[in-house]
């Protein structure tokens, strides 16, 4: 038993603790769940801090569970990238938990139903931790399923018809995505005989099977990350969920599958990827930026604006892949933009995580106060709900990428990497994306300053909810400052250190998926 308390067991604790929380919460009576849930969330925060300190001190940690080395046993890996994602999940998740506690005690009538939020959310949290730590393709499949099911259940929590329909679509997309992924895994397992990522990377040989497998896995993950044109399920699902759920889905769940793509792309797929494969993924990202922003501009309901905006913001992440997937000949003179592209994308994850969660929480406040989320309900809000308007403004600043904010740093790094890689054709997409984002953010803010004709009395909203939204929005700004620390932490990541830094990540001449 004493062995469990050793620091080496940290990865296990990260998964076990929230799972334990989920079970406890499930067994508790509904009225105790809120407070207990928040306590577990705060404990997760402490655990995340310990994790980050640990990674800063010790570096990459690989743990073989029960002392059985792969291929027999399974391994968990904890590095800078996982630690950073765990920290983001803890901070965003912690604030969202407090918001949820206040929100569900105030708003929702059917407490038996809404209190299911807590066990589901903790299951989801455990799944995310598992995802960040898994070093094994099958484990990844399992946690992706756990996350998918918990996420769908959360999305339909309100029980409204619209949410149910959207949830069904979400479920179908999620299941199709994980099945495609699983088929890819099966093919790779058949050809290499192992599931551990490190071992497989050593044994994997380019060939038709590998290419088909990669295409299947990537396709499945792209569906789950809602990359254009596979994003159809996202706007209805995210916009019809309860506000804390929307925040979790857009800030954390989407990033989970992106994390997997990033890991596999750099650590496993390397040998079989070609320049064209990177470019194709980049094109999807670029299209997502433009299309998502365009759709966001056209929406009449605020939650839909924000949901479509997620499609666009996720698109930026995929501009990373063409930049780190270039022929070996092209990087002979140095590959110095790769770390920049890498940290730019990670920063985009962080900035979007904070800003989008803040945005959804703020709109939740607005809906509570006015009863609907039509654009017109923003009218004259600057005087009536100043704190919430301010939160929307700050979150918007980060989404647009205006300084000083996390979004600005992300755009700065991505744009620098794009220019120094010579792939200048991505530049217009980044800029047009920023302008269109400014378009829909200020479309909302503009209304906040405009006079309204017949002003209905606002229902009172607990101050705590407004503070939570503002905290996350301020977070989206403040994360710009510890950039050097974040990048240092990322440099401890195995991928960042070896594959990206050394250059020549692809085998030129191969035809990719």
């Amino acid at each position: 038993m004493s062995a469990l308390w050793q620091a080496d067991n940290l990865p296990v604790w990260l998964v076990v603790w929230p799972t334990f929380g989920a079970i406890v919460l499930f067994l508790l009576p509904a009225r105790w769940r809120g407070m207990t849930g928040v306590s577990f969330a705060l404990a997760n925060g402490v655990l995340a801090l310990v994790t980050v300190f640990f990674v800063m001190e010790v570096g990459v940690l690989r743990q073989e569970i029960g002392g059985w080395a792969p291929p027999l046993g399974i391994a968990l890996a904890l590095d800078g990238l996982s630690a950073l994602f765990i920290l983001m999940t803890a901070v965003v998740g912690g604030v969202v938990s407090v918001y949820a506690k206040i929100y569900f005690t105030q708003v929702v009538v059917d407490s038996a139903r809404s209190s299911l939020f807590w066990p589901l959310w903790l299951f989801l949290w455990a799944g995310l931790h598992g995802l960040y730590l898994a070093n094994d393709l099958f484990n990844l499949y399992v946690v992706i399923e756990v996350i998918g099911i918990a996420a769908v259940a959360l999305a339909v929590l309100s029980g409204k018809t619209r949410a149910m329909i959207a949830g069904l679509r979400y479920l179908i997309a999620a299941v199709a995505g994980s099945l495609a992924y699983l088929m890819g895994v099966a093919l790779l397992y058949g050809s290499t005989g192992v599931l551990d990522i490190d071992l497989m990377a050593e044994r994997l040989e380019p060939g038709l099977t590998t290419r088909v497998a990669i295409a299947l896995m990537l396709g499945g993950l792209l569906v789950k990350t809602a990359v254009f044109p596979l994003h159809f399920w996202l706007p209805p699902a995210h916009s019809s969920a309860e506000p804390p759920v929307s925040a979790i889905l857009s800030a954390l769940v989407l990033k989970g599958t992106f994390f997997v793509i990033l890991r596999l792309w750099t650590e496993l797929f390397g040998v079989s990827l070609t320049f064209m494969a990177g470019q194709m993924v980049g094109v999807l990202g670029a299209c997502a930026v433009v299309w998502g922003s365009f759709q966001a501009l056209r929406q009449e309901r605020l939650k839909l604006v924000v949901a479509h905006s997620s499609v666009a913001q996720i698109g930026y992440l995929f501009l990373l892949f063409p930049l780190i997937t270039v022929p070996a000949t092209a990087v002979a003179g140095g590959f110095e933009w790769a770390p920049l592209a890498w940290s730019g994308a990670v920063y985009q994850v962080l900035a979007h995580g904070f800003a989008k969660a803040a945005f959804f929480l703020a709109i939740g406040v607005l809906v509570m106060a006015t009863g609907n989320d039509h654009k017109a309900s923003m009218l004259n809000m600057v005087g009536r709900l100043p704190m919430t308007t301010f939160a929307i403004g700050l979150a918007g600043v980060s989404l647009i990428g205006l300084p000083p904010s996390g979004g600005f740093l992300a755009k700065w790094m991505l744009l620098s990497a794009i220019i120094s890689s010579g792939q200048w054709w991505w530049v217009p997409f980044v800029l047009v994306g920023s302008l269109m984002t400014a378009g829909y953010v200020f479309m909302i803010l503009r209304l906040a300053f405009a006079p309204s004709q017949h002003e209905a009395e606002l229902k009172s909203v607990p101050r705590g909810l407004q503070v939570c939204a503002l905290l996350l929005a301020v977070g989206a700004i403040l994360i710009a400052f510890p950039a050097e620390w974040v990048i240092d932490l990322l440099e401890g990541t195995s991928t960042f250190g070896e594959v990206v830094r050394a250059g020549a990540p692809v085998n030129s001449g191969e035809v990719g998926p």
Binding site: S343, N380, V382, G383, P386, F390, V397, I400, L402, P403, P404, F408, L409, K411, W412, M413, L415, S416, I419, S420, V427, L431, S434, L435, A438, F442, R446, F449, A450, P451, A480, F481, A483, E484, I487
Partner: protein, 500 residues
């Protein structure tokens, strides 16, 4: 960290901190808010004054914070920074007093003064930026901080003007962004070092340097309201008078003009700019804007709109001066930054006073207004004559330096432009002055609108334009003194041309 390192940061924060506190104060906490505002403004002014004294004895003031590789936040005091910071902080103090009087009894004052302070923070930050990235950060920050001020009144017209304003400034900011990133990728982080970093690239990357210069110029030209990117400025006139005064004299337009000066002298350096031959489009556009703005101003009946087009015209003096290589011309450009600020803020204060005390907005309604508001119109007259370029008011000094500089550089056509502009200035300003002093007031009308106050505007509205008008005269009259804006401008220019 020593005292000298913290001072630039304190100067910037002396308006940010009161601004943030104001947001958390109660709407009705007028007295606390006023004290905070004035304390911040005074502190900033005193600190800038102290730094000026220290700077003359060779002290170095520099604050650095490394955000990440190639991205450093740096505040640094140099002569040009002092000039602009001095202008911002002095005019902030004056405008604060004006705004307190102007908004007496109106609603949403907390919001106004909060964003107003944040706006000045951005403006001081622009002044003290020690490198291109920091400048860009504050340049964008300024866009955000001024938007709530433009739409402050909350009328549909104001909201539309705000949209227009954002359309131009966010667009310009994005263009500037790509220029800044491009230059950083090309040459590493860009300090304001008179082109020392870039001149080595002349052989291999001349095309890229030229392209990036034009890209950044376009980004800056939006805020500097250079034709054809000036469209937002006249429309933004719907903002309250203190905002117009601040926008037009200090914050936004000067940020653009100041940026152009930094770009030409400190990023590229005058020698490299001449070698790349990139200045002539700026000269031509500047000259065209000078004439265009003046011509448009003639046809505006709305007083604030007329002043706005006048600003469009006057700002391009700075761009034109920066585009003509030569010490005299550069001095003219830099000193006009201050002179135009002093004169234009006077004019906007006066326009605000006229509107506040009599409710008049149109030039055609101002007959005999001098009898009702003699001191205000006195200040207005000083500002207007200065704009025309009459000695000994400050505007004369700028125009003199610009003209002599143009002749010195062998470009006499610029003198013709300046003379033409003076004539046009006279055409749109003199009728106002004539009508105000010499025409008969209407039999009924403004005289009875506000019967309670029989003479002049309240002192808080009257005092600021009188002070700035006085400054406009003294900085022209005593231009040769060692503390005048002109002397500081000469120090700056000597550094630009000799200490490379």
């Amino acid at each position: 960290m020593t005292w000298n390192e913290w001072i630039p940061l304190i100067i910037v924060c002396s308006s940010l901190v009161p601004g943030i506190i104001i947001f958390f104060l109660h709407e009705e906490a007028h007295r606390t808010r006023t004290i905070l505002n004035l304390a911040g403004a005074l502190l900033k002014l005193v600190l800038v004054g102290l730094v000026y004294l220290g700077f003359r004895t060779g002290e170095v003031y520099k604050f650095q914070f490394q955000i990440m590789v190639d991205l450093e936040f740096m505040l640094r005091v140099d002569a040009l920074a002092l000039l602009f910071a001095g202008l911002s902080s002095a005019l902030w103090l004056v405008t604060t007093i004006y705004a307190i009087g102007y908004f007496e009894g109106s609603s949403n004052r907390r919001r106004f003064f909060g964003f107003f302070s944040v706006c000045v923070t951005a403006s001081t930050g622009i002044a003290l930026s020690g490198n291109l990235v920091t400048f860009f950060v504050f340049y964008e920050f300024l866009t955000l901080a001024t938007y709530p001020l433009v739409v402050h009144s909350g009328t549909l017209k104001a909201v539309e003007a705000g949209r227009n304003y954002l359309f131009y400034t966010i667009g310009g900011g994005t263009v500037l962004f790509i220029g800044v990133v491009g230059l950083t990728v090309l040459a590493g982080p860009i300090d304001f070092s008179q082109g020392a970093q870039l001149s080595g690239l002349l052989e291999n990357s001349a095309f890229e340097l030229k392209l990036l210069f034009y890209v950044m110029l376009v980004g800056l030209a939006v805020k500097a309201a250079i034709f054809p990117l000036h469209g937002w400025l006249p429309i933004a006139m719907v903002a309250p008078a203190p905002v117009s005064a601040l926008l037009h004299a200090v914050a936004v337009v000067k940020a653009g003009a100041f940026g152009i000066i930094r770009l030409v002298y400190d990023v590229y350096g005058i020698n490299l700019a001449v070698e790349l031959n990139v200045l002539w489009p700026l000269a031509i556009l500047g000259a065209f804007t000078i004439i265009y703005g003046s011509v448009r101003a003639i046809f505006q009946d709305d007083l604030k709109k007329r002043l706005a087009f006048s600003t469009v015209s006057q700002l391009s003096y700075i761009a034109l001066g920066a585009a003509v290589p030569g010490m005299i011309s550069s001095t003219g450009a830099i000193v006009h930054l201050v002179h135009q600020g002093l004169m234009k803020i006077t004019l906007f204060f006066c326009a605000g006073n006229i509107a506040e005390t009599t409710g008049l907005h149109k030039v055609s309604e101002l007959n005999g207004i001098g009898r009702r508001l003699p001191l205000t119109m006195g200040a207005f007259t000083v500002g207007a004559l200065g704009m025309i370029g009459l000695p000994p008011i400050a505007g004369f000094v700028s125009k003199w330096y610009l003209s002599v500089g143009a002749l010195d550089a062998g470009q006499p056509w610029i003198v013709a432009v300046l003379l033409g502009s003076s004539a046009l200035n006279a055409i749109y300003f003199l009728p106002i002055i004539h009508a105000a002093w010499f025409k008969q007031p209407p039999a009924e009308g403004w005289r009875d609108l506000r019967p309670k106050r029989r003479f002049e505007a309240p002192w808080m509205l009257l005092f600021p334009p009188l002070v700035t008008a006085l400054f406009s005269i003294t900085s022209g009259l005593f231009a040769a003194m060692s503390w005048s804006p002109l002397s500081l401008a000469r120090v700056i220019v000597e550094r630009v041309y000799f200490l490379q």
